[in-house]
Symmetry: D2
Subunit: 421 residues, 4 copies
């Protein structure tokens, strides 16, 4: 399977963008059997079918039910079944039990999508006010987030199968050479942080505000598998002084000795990917690290993780290109050549862990109603990641985009870029 760029990124009108994003979800689901789309491999993950239904639910509940006079829900049970965490909407089917919903089956969910799409086309076609268009816009970015989650979750599910199934046949070309790691220096000072009023952004990226940075430097590229393997060989997982206390407890309890998807077969290192089990490419960026591992690696490498302000300041000068889901390889790729002027690989490939806990920007304001439940309520105990990854839609990422996960999470495509004072 190969996933090519859809119109999602490029559509100019709302209806084009709607069509593009919705089509992309369907495309991502195509390689999945009914079973693949139903099963939930852990409490953090959701079934692909659930992602397809929930993103549709978003439009039905927040747009159609609000804007279409006498709108009849496709199925009244869905309001409960496919609510993720919106207390404003009502009770929710418990997250760890999403995989138990063998019914409605895939056919019903496809019909649900078609039904809602048809109504949405009619509604958008009839003209929407700015507020409603804004909700549709949120819904599209919301669906793009779930597209990435769908890939993460399928990867985790397939990794639980001893036969190592492949979701795609796409290959990642090996690197010819890997540029030396150097550091780019930044001056610091008063810099702007966050998203301004133009263009789409999530509430957690706002308001744009000034912050004060000390001078810092940032690695010219992402940390590679080879470098991470050196850390392991040097006893990285055995030295408590390299680890945060919670991290040391976690790796002990979980028995972690390598990134989530590394496998050893007959003495050789392999990596489970969405294309199945592949020999580990030493030149490719290391991926599927927890924050604890990223932080320990950075300490071992005489560095630290960047703050999100440092990262965003450096990213302001970078172009928004990179290895995104549209490339179809669905795996980070080795850097082929480096830009000597500024850090490479800032966007795409892997989400870069920052040392910044996920918290509210000064002046952050939660909108009333369900949309207000979107981001603010997750602002505790999570860390910010930046830059998007090989499973992120290209049109979804921005320099100000704040992703966030718990420090022990590994199933997202999280990697490392070093920083230094």
């Amino acid at each position: 399977m190969s996933i090519n760029a859809t119109e999602a990124a490029t559509g100019n009108t709302l209806i084009e963008r709607y069509r593009g994003v919705r089509a992309q979800s369907d495309k991502l689901a195509r390689p999945l059997s009914a079973e693949d789309a139903c099963v939930q491999s852990m409490a953090d993950a959701s079934p692909a079918k659930w992602h397809l239904a929930h993103t549709t639910w978003f439009f039905e509940v927040f747009v159609l039910a609000e804007q279409v006079r006498n709108y009849l829900p496709f199925d009244p049970d869905y309001r409960f079944l496919f609510n993720s965490y919106y207390h404003t909407v009502g009770a929710q089917h418990p997250r760890p039990r999403r995989g138990l919903l063998t019914r409605p089956d895939m056919t019903a969910i496809r019909a649900y999508r078609d039904h809602v799409d048809e109504k949405m086309y009619a509604l958008i076609g009839s003209g929407l006010d700015a507020s409603s268009s804004g909700v549709v816009e949120v819904g599209l970015h919301h669906e793009q987030q779930h597209q990435e989650l769908l890939l993460m979750d399928i990867k985790h599910l397939f990794s639980c199968n001893p036969t190592s199934p492949a979701y795609t046949t796409a290959a990642v070309a090996a690197a010819h050479c890997i540029p030396d790691l150097t550091f780019h220096e930044f001056e610091g000072g008063i810099v702007p942080l966050g998203a301004g009023p133009v263009g789409f952004s999530f509430d957690n990226e706002r308001p744009r505000h000034d912050t004060l940075l000390q001078p810092y430097s940032l690695a010219s590229r992402l940390t590679t598998n080879q470098e991470y393997a050196d850390f392991i060989r040097d006893g990285g997982y055995d030295d408590p002084l390299l680890w945060l206390a919670d991290g040391w407890t976690t790796i002990g309890k979980e028995g972690w000795r390598a990134p989530l998807y590394w496998r050893e077969v007959d003495g050789e290192r392999f990596e489970f990917t969405l294309a199945g089990l592949r020999p580990l490419d030493p030149a490719a960026p290391v991926v599927h690290l927890s924050y604890y591992e990223a932080d320990a690696y950075a300490r071992w490498a005489d560095g630290r993780l960047p703050t999100e302000a440092e990262w965003e300041t450096a990213a302001a000068a970078a172009s928004l290109t990179g290895n995104f889901v549209e490339n179809g390889s669905l795996h980070p790729r080795p850097l082929q050549c480096a830009d000597a002027k500024q850090p490479s690989q800032m966007f795409g490939d892997v989400w870069e862990w920052t040392m910044s806990p996920y918290t509210a920007y000064p002046g952050f304001w939660t909108p009333p109603g369900a949309i207000g439940e979107y981001n603010g309520k997750f602002m505790s105990s999570q860390m910010v990641l930046r830059g998007g990854c090989c499973a992120t839609p290209e049109a979804h990422i921005r320099g100000t985009y704040r992703n966030f996960f718990y420090p022990a999470n590994r199933w997202q495509f999280g990697g490392v870029r070093l920083a230094r004072n």
Copy 2:
């Protein structure tokens, strides 16, 4: 759907019985979608697809691989994937992770069944020695056990779905009257227990041996929903003096206040069945009780549960008829008329909890090899149930048949018949 009697029960030749049992498994799987057949709702349950594969694996590993020269396995991974607990055969895919196997999919498993069946027909047709025939016989009874497990597991899975899906449309006729509960007296003395050498039996039913019984009496019929509801209304779940200590702890921890599948909707009592949510029939036998609940009920009702020897002695005079899977209702049915001479409903409807822990008969002997792993290794902390239920194949049950579950298990069709000294 309705499940009619197959040839399984009546076939005279081994090949006819093989055909009949295998066809019955396929029939039971027919109402299931690919998703239904894949998902595992708890660690104790297995996916339907897994049951279909594992019963086939039994014939492939224990018969074909042993008897067919140069037999090539259908898929070498299956030896591991579909091994339940036979350490003699090798390592096993962990039981709680059976539901993660979205691949091989249903189509592959059907092909696996066809492949093994074809080879089995050829092998049986070519003539088998007594020992191999015996293993085939065990395999057929083994598959019948899994047929009942498949129904239990699907019922549990569907019960986890807030939309209460139905596996069958069959109805259970309501009772016109319910006979009074009386007690039949038995004299005791030296009685035989267990299965003799003629006819099929499992190792745990052997050897047939004498045991000494005190006089006892046995209820004329099963305990009904009405009687159990009286126990609840009388505060049965609130009075610690009625309960075993472990039982009291369990109902507190689990929050149990009624049998597993009872539901209250708008103040009315319903029961989740394989035909979906149905109003609770007061005259039908109560079902899906744990041992703890059966025991507490018996104490409340001034009785006790029978021992397995008491039950078997009474059952020796009963005819092997009753409400089995072939009836298709897949639910215990109210007793319509009673036999005044001996206890009714001894076979079928519900498995009857006995107060006998599951342990070895004097002289019990574990055969060497994998078949020896069949029953003996479960002889700790479980209780014996007798008589078969509405999900048991009629040809599978015997008076000497010993089923066993942990005292806290409720997803099997377990009910109560009272005994008294």
Copy 3:
């Protein structure tokens, strides 16, 4: 410290026996600091202080409060604090939180004991009716049970301390020789089981009744550390075919590779005892095995565990002598010479696991009221052990005595005697 025989065993009058048993509890507590007597090392264990208070509570609640007009409780809070599991008496301080009761302190508990003893002496001296005398008798045997529990619990607590404290300085003499293991044959037939009406017995030993035994043989002595070490060296803990399924799961989850208190220090085997860490004596009976380990060992040794009826029948001919708490060594001792006519070491040293689940004898009847809560409510999922151990008061044991623990329990002094068909 050495614990000599008290009058408990030999006193002729009730008041003498009361005095003797109570004095023995105080004596057992003497080597303990206030801290030792307060801490609870696991949910199954209780603090020594709690044992001292609870055994006193038994007399206060079941005797004084019933028999003494206008009896004022020593402290009204104690009714709740030191109730173990008597729902008839009222709510209970939760068992796993007994160790949190730093107050009342040891001084208060000693005053409580003195207060209740004084009232009890007066009451017994004034004459008691048969029913009340019977309750006092139960209270004394109850306190003897807690004396053994106190030693078990202190041993477990001290074993959790990396400095391996010693409760006693008593030594166990090493063996000069160890008699060969032989088997004594028994004919079977109809035999009596359980306690008759003469002399004290617990409810679970009654009623005495006939049962039918097949012929069997019983080992001439207990299994030794050397024999168990052979089992380990032969891979006993690595071979799933030797284990009950629950046992295999348990040793995997708990990481068990040897009896509870075996330790390896610089390549040498030691055993933690109530006299601290001692080199393992190969000739001494193996002790602190779970049922699972006892059962697996027996299977490896081409035997099985005896049933309780087999054991009791053999014990009927044995004298009630052995290594009990009064010897003061508080550890099983090697057999010095064997009786060629009948099995040795039947009483004392270690509790012998039987293959009999703990269940009611035919005709077992639970007395009404709190005393009825004594034994019956534990009749699920536990196994019977017979014969008493080195921490049991000599006067407490009988041939019909039924002790019971869960198959995974190891902190009681449980060992193995082999049986064969």
Copy 4:
């Protein structure tokens, strides 16, 4: 008991401060029985005896063993037993098992303290270089932290006892009036944050650096019990929209409906304090809230928690007076009169939760060796609290002091001061 100011706060020489701090620890332990000082009520807490030993261990391991030629440890086992989390020093007795150490007993620990004190007096008297003096200084602040922990842990332990024991008889005077809540405005701008080079500070307060603040306002006083009770009465614990997602999950799982030590007795509100159970004073500051509760309360009250930079900037103008451990009431006291010019109660009474996750200041640098393990390794998933509390030594607090706990922790004296944009 009353705890008066010791010389700790006022001593001018190192030896005077050493004497004062050590004497204060002994004083705090005086009301405790041996049992009180030994038991551990939860994994987060430590026994008082352990605090007394561990603070002594700090001086023995980091000062005496380094500075005294041929120093012989008081007891070699203590290096392991009383190591908290210093991997540099070696392995540690596991934290949740500290309460199992009934030996060494209190007498031994007192002897340990005397022994180390004697050696320390000699060493300090003989003159120390600056680096060693610095380690002693850290050791004294370290011991002051453990003094507060000792009080927190004893409070938790006593709260687990149904008899509600009192550690002190000191009373807190009730308030005559409670000033209205007003807000003080701050301008923001570039402000300094953290500790400079003069005077003692922990590594996590350094380096002092500039940061950029937006304008904000801060409540004139702490939130009171009355105000928090209003939040509860208004359904605060029932409205998911007020809570962080993790907070909502936590209060559901834990069943939290009020601050940790609130109790309802016969319909009246009480509070468990170190002086036992007392009627809840509506005018006193609310205390023993988790971060989740503090955050939800602030949202309900149309405010938010301050950042630590906002708090520190406001505190820079406040005097370092307040209700500290030296007052002896060991409980927050109601505000009697307010300073109209600036926020009251900034220091003492309760630790004030901030919305700032605990993370490294720009340029934070971990010293090599064991001292480097002090603070940095806890920088994940915790939140900063500021200002000290009624159990904090007065000499221990500073405007730049950063305390930190997990958002679900409640046993520290945590309360709320509102902030607004």
